[in-house]
């Protein structure tokens, strides 16, 4: 098929704008958004919805159709149709007409010869020649823009504030007063770099940055939808933490998650990494169909892969050619084919239609060394008891006729845990009531299962086994991993996206608009992953550095981290984006090095304070004339408040935990087998936010209140809302009330007078010294109530405490 990128573009070399005596018009910046927003829907890449056989996304086609006559706007039918007063003829037929400004830009552009450009994101990043000198490249690029905008960079942040910012960014935990004081004594470049290196080396680094990745990986601890059964994916979460801590290169990080199972002799860790694509929410409700379910899950894998690595939004192409981006439906299903190779992952359970279960590949997973020993002990005991049970079965069988009569006459049925038995026994004692001679083999086995459970000769052994197995299951988690069929699974396009309407056959392949697939790569997920991290790929590195940038500065250089397509806003600093991408690859895809590069810039180290005028000039801090300042994520607010109060557990990894939450939330989940929330005891109540059990069907309210989600789908950026419900949460949730109590006790213990105590408390939360007015306000509150509790609550709820400044 004809590739979008390989068509001739006559004016391809003109990239820096054109001038016709009027101001310069830039195709990518000024014209493509108009064409894409107003025209491509009917005159773009989607052949299925193309009107009048006209496409405007290709210059040659637009010229051939005389929609555009290069150099003559007033003779071009495109121009005529968007400006005509005849409403029947005017384009676009629906929605707002072009604004005067858009018309003007279009005219200048056509008069100048209507030069097209390839979309920047599908071209390789361009290196910039940096001037010699000691200016950090990031500062070089940022300042060039500031100058254009008439803005000046801000002075460096107060050392205490800077160290807090750095600490929150790198490990998500605020610095101690001692760390702050040490840095204040010598805030030199060398000391700053030492702090950066210290924090990058901390094992809490992986925890901080895992949260960001787990949103993308839609990691959760339950299936979602009706029933919302639990799943064990925390080994995958721990894999992410470890990989980040080890600074696994991003290309490796990608390959192991997308295709670790297809590597030669994959290690356990490499298999666990493939949990990335087993994280998909899964609808196991009553009437859901297995084929439909599989299609849903594979669509999610394609879409998530597209968003996370390529910032290409694939969803549209499920049903038809993409209307804006050069992704034909066929390309979509070629990608789908890579995922369609997966083994069957779920099946009906039992004869009923109510439940399905996972049957794909999984791995037993034992936590600690102590656990391993205990698991071995239990397994040995299970063998012994099982042998005894086998012996005793003869006794029970000999007694079966008498037992059946007795059992039916008794009310012992009320004490049987029916869920333990095969589905077809649950509805009552149906099979037992069938005369023995008429029972099928299955029915006989079912009745025997009940006999063995209830008969005094075998029952005790059965119950012991149940208990032992349950104990072992608690220690041995099975976590889901990817696995492919050995034989090639054929893939067909779905007509209109309907999985029951198969279209033409497709082979695994990648979008034609991007770099070509090396024919030496295997036609499976491993090949796909290798293609994704090929340095020829114009997107992966850019998309990744953009997300890291957004996590640190609060907004990306491209503000739509999931979409670098035709409809995406242009990068604010295109040269910077390209430089970071190339630097990322040059540094062997080191994520820690990338972060270090960013935080070593002066741009990062600027103060976030501003005067009203500066704020008004750039309210969103698009141009970075001041340091980043924005509210922390739900998880970091929790970590931060617990750390300030001195209660935060520093334990890393392991099964998800159950800190206290309002009662009854799990009971509200429709059709849930597991409705009891097993509130943790001890240290597990104070773990970091990313370890809190994430039940998709009813997530912890604090997480939702602060813009987290049930991770039902890939989340590339979170909101930062500001609501009264958040205030109530932090003021009244027992978790934060207890934190305030602990913090108050700590303040009480600070040596010195009330002013010293108030100062220490303030420093512990926001690092910097309080002003005199701030100290006065805190002490006045203490004096009024005679306790530090109110003061502690105030400090834990300050905007500055909840914000990275």
């Amino acid at each position: 098929m004809i590739s979008f990128s390989r068509l001739p573009f006559i004016f391809l070399t003109i990239t820096c704008g054109i001038s016709t005596g009027e101001e310069a018009v830039d195709f990518s910046r000024d014209i493509r958004p108009i064409l894409s927003g107003k025209c491509f829907k009917c005159h773009g890449p989607d052949s299925g919805s193309r009107e009048a056989d006209l496409r405007l996304d290709l210059r040659d086609a637009a010229l051939d159709a005389e929609a555009i006559i290069a150099g003559a706007a007033h003779e071009s039918s495109l121009f005529d149709r968007v400006t005509t007063g005849d409403l029947d003829d005017r384009m676009p037929p629906k929605g707002k007409p072009l604004s005067q400004e858009e018309v003007r830009l279009l005219r200048i552009w056509i008069d100048a010869g209507a030069p097209y450009e390839n979309h920047w994101a599908y071209e390789k990043p361009v290196p910039t020649d940096l001037p010699s000198g000691s200016t950090h490249p990031i500062d070089h690029f940022v300042r060039a823009r500031l100058e254009e905008k008439g803005l000046r960079p801000a002075p460096p942040a107060d050392p205490a504030v800077l160290l807090r910012r750095l600490s929150l960014d790198l490990i998500g935990i605020p610095p101690t007063i001692e760390e702050v004081s040490r840095f204040e004594r010598d805030p030199s470049e060398a000391c700053y770099e030492r702090e950066v290196d210290r924090l990058l080396a901390s094992n809490h680094f992986g925890e901080k940055w895992a949260r960001h990745w787990l949103d993308l990986a839609r990691y959760a601890d339950s299936n979602g939808y009706q029933h919302d059964d639990l799943r064990t994916m925390w080994p995958y979460r721990d894999w992410v933490i470890n990989a980040l801590n080890e600074d696994m290169p991003f290309d490796r990080f990608t390959i192991e998650q997308l295709a670790g199972d297809l590597l030669p002799n994959p290690s356990r860790e490499q298999l666990v990494a493939t949990g990335f694509h087993r994280n998909v929410a899964t609808n196991f409700s009553g009437g859901s169909k297995v084929r439909e379910l599989r299609a849903d899950i594979l669509h999610d894998r394609v879409s998530t892969t597209g968003q996370v690595w390529l910032a290409m939004t694939m969803e549209c192409s499920q049903c038809h050619d993409h209307k804006f981006d050069p992704i034909p439906q066929r390309d979509y299903y070629e990608l789908y084919a890579y995922f369609n190779q997966a083994v069957t992952e779920f099946a009906m359970e039992g004869p009923g239609m109510f439940r399905k279960k996972f049957i794909g590949a999984d791995l037993p997973f034992v936590g600690s060394r102590i656990d391993k020993r205990r698991v071995e002990e239990i397994s040995d005991t299970i063998e012994l008891v099982a042998a005894k049970l086998e012996e005793a079965k003869a006794t029970a069988l000999a007694d079966q006729v008498k037992w059946e009569r007795e059992f039916l006459d008794s009310d012992r049925g009320a004490n049987i845990p029916w869920k333990r038995f095969p589905w077809n026994l649950r509805g009552g004692l149906n099979h037992l009531r069938i005369p023995p001679a008429k029972r099928t083999d299955d029915e006989k086995l079912n009745v025997e299962a009940l006999l063995f459970y209830d008969h005094p000769a075998t029952g005790p052994h059965e119950r012991t086994l149940d208990r032992l197995k349950e104990e072992r299951d608690d220690l041995v988690a099975r976590t889901m991993v990817m696995k492919d069929e050995k034989e090639m699974v054929p893939t067909n396009l779905f007509l209109r996206g309907d999985y029951t309407s198969l279209g033409e056959h497709v082979e695994p392949g990648v979008p034609d608009v991007l770099h070509p697939l090396d024919p030496g790569l295997p036609p499976n997920r491993l090949g796909l992953a290798q293609w994704i991290v090929d340095p020829e790929n114009p997107l992966t590195a850019r998309v990744t550095v953009n997300r890291f940038w957004a996590e640190i500065f609060g907004r990306g250089i491209v503000t739509t981290p999931e979409d670098f397509g035709m409809q995406s806003p242009s990068p604010t600093h295109p040269e910077l984006l390209d430089w970071l991408a190339l630097e990322f690859i040059r540094q062997d895809w080191s994520m820690k090095q990338l972060i270090k590069t960013i935080v070593m810039s002066e741009t990062y180290r600027q103060t976030a304070t501003a005067c009203a005028e500066k704020m008004a000039q750039d309210p969103a801090n698009e141009w970075l004339a001041r340091g980043p300042r924005f509210r922390l994520s739900a998880e970091l607010i929790r970590d931060n408040l617990l750390a300030i109060s001195g209660r935060l557990s520093r334990k890393i990894g392991g099964p998800a935990v159950y800190p206290p939450q309002p009662e009854g939330l799990w009971k509200e989940i429709s059709g849930a087998d597991v409705s009891h929330y097993p509130t943790s005891e001890g240290e597990d109540r104070q773990r970091r936010g990313l370890y809190t059990f994430l039940r998709r069907g009813n997530p912890n309210p604090m997480v939702l209140n602060f813009d987290g989600s049930g991770r039902s789908a890939c989340v590339t950026s979170r909101d930062r809302s500001n609501t009264p419900v958040q205030a109530l949460n932090l003021l009244n949730d027992p978790c934060y009330v207890e934190a305030a109590q602990a913090f108050a006790a700590w303040i009480e213990g600070v040596p010195g007078d009330d002013f010293s105590k108030a100062t220490a408390a303030f420093r512990r939360a926001v690092a910097r010294q309080p002003s005199e007015a701030e100290r006065q306000a805190l002490v006045a509150l203490y004096e009024k109530h005679g306790s530090w509790f109110s003061v502690a609550q105030v400090i834990l709820n300050l905007d500055e405490t909840l914000t990275k400044s």
Binding site: G95, Y225, Q226, N283, S285, G286, G287, S288, K289, D296, Q307, T313, E315, F324, G352, M353, F354, W423, G427, N430, T560, D563, Q567, A608, T609, A610, C611, M615, A616, P619, S670, N698, P699, G710, S712, A713, S721, N722, P724, V725, Q726, A727, L728, N729, L731, N732, D733, P734, V737, S771, A773, E774, A777, L781, H785, V794, L798, D799, E800, T803
Partner: protein, 484 residues
């Protein structure tokens, strides 16, 4: 001192603090929000109203919505869509050409048909036909538009609910309520624009009131039944109202100092939010205290001393109170309509639980002049099959007869807010299996509801993943015939 007295005193104190704030002078971007806050209830919304993205595309007929979702899928042929012909088919399989290729959740296409045992009669002056299961609703038949020709794409509860609320059968899209909040905002900055009430969770859980990819402030806020409708509304037991007031004031004062330093308007919003949180601690319990309603109003809903109104009735009354206070969208979930088995025992019970309160709600709204611009909607996520289901889907055990899920046709009714009165629209075949006339797909219904709210469903869009999404996806036609 009573709570409201403390409140008044504190309001005075805080206006002093605000004057102090102004005296310091440096008001930046956030000054607009702050000045609105000074006019008390008009602005500075957290919950959304200063962020309403449009006035309206055209003059709205409805300013607000109360959506009564009967979770599980009520049986249309036993309630509002009589099928006398089905009597003849009772016990027989339906014609194969009808059922071929159709998806069912649990039964198969050849399952035998089962008649409805209920008597139907014309009600009100309009003669709208209803079954005997809704005697109270029958008294307000002349207020209703009945749509018998609804269609959806999904046959399972979770996905069906999502389709009904978001126009898409999978997780992740914004709901009708979230779109409404996004488009129109709230009329009361002290309350969310989108409130959810329920006796039980729907199957899709909180995804049924999610903001999807819209800003998260547009997600529905769940008010629970009982004294504290919101989590964390009550002070810790040893913190007095006055101590809390001092804490809020101190937070405000210190945040004010931080604002001087950073000029970040988010800080001003946060000051306002903490003050609002404090006010909500009084206003929300008051709002949910139904005992403040007079006896004659309570009895409308069956909530008087010998009334039988339960959580659903309470939620209906609370919905009215919320609407009076400017809440834009009240979503009520009532569970118990998934009658796979034993439908003829269970359905009358389900109907009895909602009948009186539904009628009461319409009468109450009308008496207050609210019905004209409140759109009330009643319906489930799909309908039920004319064929019987006789086995438990899980165990296979024989059960008393029921009906399976059905997406090809179902019935909903609407009232108030710009829809015709006493009007029946659309028709289904003799079996109640498929639509024969004037099909209204969920997308069309969304387009129509948005139209009533003054929203052009093709124009209210949100850019996500490079695409301008809307509630109606790429579909939806306004059903002009039902517009008053």
């Amino acid at each position: 001192m009573k709570a409201d007295e403390i409140d008044r005193l504190r309001a005075g104190n805080r206006s002093l603090a605000r004057r102090e704030f102004f005296r310091r002078g440096t008001l930046g971007i956030g000054s607009l929000a702050l000045s609105k806050l000074l006019q008390d209830d008009l602005g500075a919304s957290i919950f959304g109203n200063d962020n309403a993205i449009l006035k309206s595309h055209h003059a709205p007929k409805a300013k607000r919505v109360i959506f009564l979702h009967m979770v599980g899928g009520p049986s249309q042929m036993d309630t509002f869509d009589p099928k006398p012909e089905l009597d003849k088919w009772d016990g027989k399989s339906l014609p194969e050409e009808l059922t071929r290729g159709q998806k069912f959740a649990f039964i198969t296409g050849d399952a035998r048909a089962i008649r409805s045992p209920y008597s139907f009669a014309p009600r009100g002056e309009s003669g709208m036909i209803m079954s005997e299961l809704f005697p109270h609703l029958a008294t307000v038949a002349d207020e209703l538009t009945m749509i018998r020709s609804m269609q959806t794409n999904e046959i399972n509860h979770g996905s069906g609910e999502l389709f009904l609320h978001t126009g898409h059968g999978r997780l992740g899209r914004p709901t009708f309520g979230a779109w409404t909040s996004y488009g129109l905002g709230s009329e009361n900055s002290n309350l969310p624009s989108y409130v959810v009430l329920k006796d039980q969770h729907p199957n899709a859980g909180p995804s049924a009131w999610s903001s999807g990819f819209l800003p998260s402030k547009h997600q529905g806020v769940l008010f629970r039944t009982g004294r504290n409708p919101l989590f964390y509304l009550e002070n810790p037991h040893d913190v007095s109202a006055s101590e809390r007031g001092d804490v809020i004031d101190a937070i405000g004062e210190l945040n004010g100092l931080a604002f001087d330093r950073y000029q970040d308007p988010e800080i001003q919003t946060r000051i306002a939010q903490y003050e609002l949180a404090y006010r909500m601690q009084t206003s929300v319990p008051e709002l949910s205290d139904l005992k403040r309603e007079p006896e004659h109003v309570l009895s409308l809903y069956g909530l008087d001393a010998d009334g039988e109104g339960g959580d659903f009735a309470k939620n209906c009354l609370l919905a009215r109170r919320l609407c009076e206070r400017g809440v834009r969208f009240v979503q009520i979930f009532n569970k118990g309509w998934d009658h796979h088995a034993n439908i003829y025992q269970a359905l009358p019970r389900s109907a009895a639980k909602v009948d009186r309160a539904c009628a009461g709600l319409l009468i109450d709204l009308k008496q207050r002049g609210l019905l004209d611009d409140t759109l009330v909607i009643w319906g489930g996520e799909f309908g039920r099959t004319p064929m019987v289901q006789e086995n438990n889907a899980g165990t296979g055990a024989k059960t008393a007869p029921g009906r399976d899920h059905h997406k090809e046709c179902f019935t909903i009714w609407m009232a108030g807010g710009g829809v015709k009165k006493g009007y029946t629209y659309g028709a289904t075949d003799d079996f109640g299996f498929g639509v024969t006339e004037n099909a209204v797909h969920v997308h069309d219904w969304h387009a129509t509801c948005q139209h009533l709210l003054g929203i052009d469903h093709e124009q209210l869009t949100y850019r996500h993943q490079g695409r301008d999404f809307r509630l109606t996806d790429v579909h939806g036609h306004i059903v002009r015939n039902i517009l008053a």
